[in-house]
Amino acid sequence: MQNNTITNIDKYYRRSVILNSLESNNFNDIVEKYYTGLIKIRKEKTQNSLKTSLLKTAQDKNNPIFSFNFGLSLLDSFIKINFDTFGISILDEYIKT
């Protein structure tokens, strides 16, 4: 499961600035990198998701661009469920105070 997760994240984010420089295949390194990069991409992703959701929901499954977007979308959902967080730093601050 962990290896699959790493492969999926790697595949998805290799093209992005977040993991471009990440050489380690260590699960914790990748997760850490994702967490630290999350704040930066949050706004962009929110805006993009609003844009893509306004695209016509294509039904042509033979369209390679459409299929590619579907793949990314599912992977994005997977990552969101498994790695996304909201306000985790408040918990950190609460523990420290």
Binding site: S53, F86, I88
Partner: protein
């Protein structure tokens, strides 16, 4: 506003574990502090685990009524809880166990007819959306496929109890209708897709159908915004072993 929690042991988490109880304990502590009343809707298999973790104002085991066959659609437990809260006439906020509302949420949430945590666009791209539209349209589903924004339901609630009851009730019917079994029963083992469709995407469908406006707590969901609104949703951090440690540490503080 009264706070609600739910736990359906037939859902994907199955038997409740200590980490879940710890999260729920921390979350319920702050909900009690900020909203005064906290209510739990669960089932007979789990109720004993939850009794001691918070000063519940009521505990119900009505989730016993949900069909195990659709356990992968774990949001059924939440949906039935929304319906129960609405039928009780409670202006309510349902809080997921992995959500911590550190302080009372802003006034605009109190005043909202329907509110949720934040928008999620990615759901509208799922292939299964096309199947959803083949289901019988007696469940508020419009004929036209629309790319809805799916509301994240880390928190959900509001004052429009008629709408919330209708949405929750029809969503449960949509899933459990034998005529729709081909869609809902064939995805066992997949932990979030069908559950998110029934809870979140269907909410967007209902809101469109009845021309209802959903208010969102978070606009961009950034860490800064969460800090400002004193809101935490652990979501994926649940998989991080460090989070278990952090929750334990936080619990030490409230127990002092």
């Amino acid at each position: 506003m009264k706070a609600y929690y739910s736990y359906w042991s037939k859902g994907y988490r199955n038997k409740v574990d200590q980490f879940y109880l710890d999260m729920n304990k921390l979350s319920a502590f702050f909900a009690k502090k900020n909203y005064g009343e906290i209510h739990l809707v669960t089932d007979s298999d789990s109720v004993e685990h939850f009794k001691g973790i918070a000063k519940w104002d009521s505990i119900s085991t009505e989730l016993d009524n949900l069909p195990e066959k659709y356990s992968h659609v774990w949001s059924l437990g939440k949906l039935l809880t929304f319906k129960i809260a609405a039928e009780r006439g409670h202006h309510f906020i349902h809080i997921d166990a992995d959500v911590i509302v550190w302080e009372k949420l802003p006034d605009f949430i109190d005043h909202a007819d329907i509110f949720c945590q934040s928008r999620e666009g990615h759901v509208s791209e799922w292939p299964s959306i096309n199947c959803l539209y083949q289901l019988k349209n007696k469940y508020n589903i419009l004929n036209e496929i629309k790319p809805y924004i799916s509301p994240n339901c880390g928190i959900i609630g509001g004052k429009d109890l008629n709408f919330i009851k209708n949405y929750a009730e029809t969503s449960i019917q949509l899933v459990t209708d034998p005529e729709n079994e081909w869609f809902w029963a064939n995805n066992v083992g997949q932990h979030f897709e069908r559950a998110v469709l029934a809870e979140q995407y269907y909410l967007a469908i209902c809101a469109e159908k009845f021309n209802k406006y959903i208010t969102y707590l978070l606009l961009d969901g950034s860490e800064e915004e969460c800090k400002e609104k004193k809101y935490t949703h652990l979501l994926g951090a649940k998989n991080d072993p460090l989070t278990k440690f952090k929750i334990k540490e936080a619990l030490k503080k409230i127990e002092i």
